[in-house]
């Protein structure tokens, strides 16, 4: 029985679900998350969806951030980080609205944060037994980027593009002010590592998404790999952030 230590310690957890046109899969995802992680508060970030995502999230009774236009995954997740910081959460777990992230792993993912003092835990498809099926280009792209991330962060990274993650309050505070706009996953690993934060990967078995398709298909993995690879290298020369985000007014 793990009738939990965290409970008596009064720690607070938030599940952040970025959703862009996920009306069909969202009810299922919310139900799963509620069942698997009853102690966590739920936040859906509606990234300017054209469908009923917002209404569904509201009718399910969870907190919703409704972005007035589509910001992309980076901007949406960052809005969730800001919410988590304002709410003073001890851990926040990011779970995609399309249902490919297994809700029953939310606790496994938050454990390194709550018990081992890690700042970010990343659910890795490549540490779990059984091979993750994905296009060959996709796997290649992920492998190359992950090596680059390992190199730049000095920490072992096998699945840098995984969006299934848990963050500590410290990581949230940093990322609420600095988070890459598009394809943020690999960059944020390096950004946090450069702040001296600890990152841990947790083996996770992901599922096929129920509806919709990945945004990265065909030869796009190669484009993605090049673009993100360059962004990672450019990050090396970026100065430590100063002042307000958005630059001078």
């Amino acid at each position: 029985m793990t009738k939990d230590r965290h409970m008596s310690a009064g720690l607070r957890g938030l599940v952040i679900i970025p959703a862009y046109n996920e009306a069909r899969s969202l009810p299922h995802v919310l139900r799963e998350v509620r069942a698997a992680a009853p102690g966590f508060d739920l936040l859906v970030v509606n990234d300017g969806s054209a469908d009923e995502t917002f209404e569904i999230a509201r009718s399910e009774g969870c907190a919703v951030l409704d972005l007035c236009f589509n910001l992309g995954i980076g901007g949406a997740v960052q809005a969730g980080f800001k919410y988590a910081v304002e709410g003073g959460y001890d851990v926040a777990v990011q779970v995609d609205g399309d249902g490919q992230h297994p809700a029953d792993q939310i606790e496994a993912l938050s454990r390194p944060i709550l018990e081992e003092g890690c700042d970010m835990a990343v659910g890795s498809r490549y540490l779990a037994p059984g091979r993750y099926e994905g296009g060959r280009l996709r796997r290649l792209g992920n492998a190359v980027l992950s090596r680059l991330c390992s190199l730049l962060s000095g920490q072992r990274v096998t699945d840098c593009t995984s969006g299934f993650r848990a963050y500590s309050a410290r990581a949230l505070a940093y990322l609420a002010h600095r988070y890459p706009a598009d394809y943020p996953e690999p960059e944020s690993i390096v950004l946090l590592a450069r702040q001296g934060m600890r990152i841990r990967e947790v083996p996770v078995k992901m599922r096929e998404r129920r509806y919709g398709r990945s945004s990265i298909t065909g030869v796009r993995p190669l484009y993605y790999m090049t673009k993100v690879g360059l962004a990672l290298v450019l990050d090396i020369i970026k100065e430590a952030p100063q002042g307000q985000e958005g630059g001078k007014a």
Partner: protein, 137 residues
């Protein structure tokens, strides 16, 4: 005055008029209006007084003096484009922050905003992180 000079002066005057038109309508910020008026003035001066270009070409050791003009025009365009890249980056950053802040404020208005941790930390079930009661992992 050669026909080409007349044409250039005409274009420069049109640019200046367009700039003045938009300033009067409050649709062009001063920094930009000054820049474009300066461009217009430069065109007129360089056209009327050919000596300036020839002097610059001699100093730069360029045998075909209009080449200097082409270079300056390209440099001006490149600087402007870079300036716009900077502006666009800044504006889209600010846009993103605005959208995020607005969503947070609206959530607060509608009562689903972030609740800060309750002061009575332990025991209050509302804010507890209850982990599912099973033996998973």
């Amino acid at each position: 005055m050669r026909p080409i000079s007349a044409l250039v002066v005409f274009v420069a005057v049109v640019i200046a008029l367009v700039v003045v038109f938009y300033i009067r309508r409050w649709r062009l910020r001063e920094e930009y209006s000054l820049l474009w008026l300066f461009l217009s003035a430069a065109l007129i001066v360089l056209t009327i007084d050919q000596g300036v270009m020839e002097w610059a070409a001699r100093r730069l050791d360029v045998s075909y003096s209009p080449a200097v003009l082409f270079f300056l025009a390209l440099a001006f365009a490149a600087v402007m484009l870079f300036h716009y890249s900077l502006e666009i980056s800044r504006l889209s950053d600010q846009n993103r922050v605005l959208a995020q802040e607005m969503s947070l404020l609206r959530a607060k208005l509608e009562g689903s905003g972030p609740r800060a941790a309750s002061p009575a930390k332990p025991g209050s079930s509302e804010v507890d992180l209850a982990v599912a009661d099973d033996d998973a992992l």
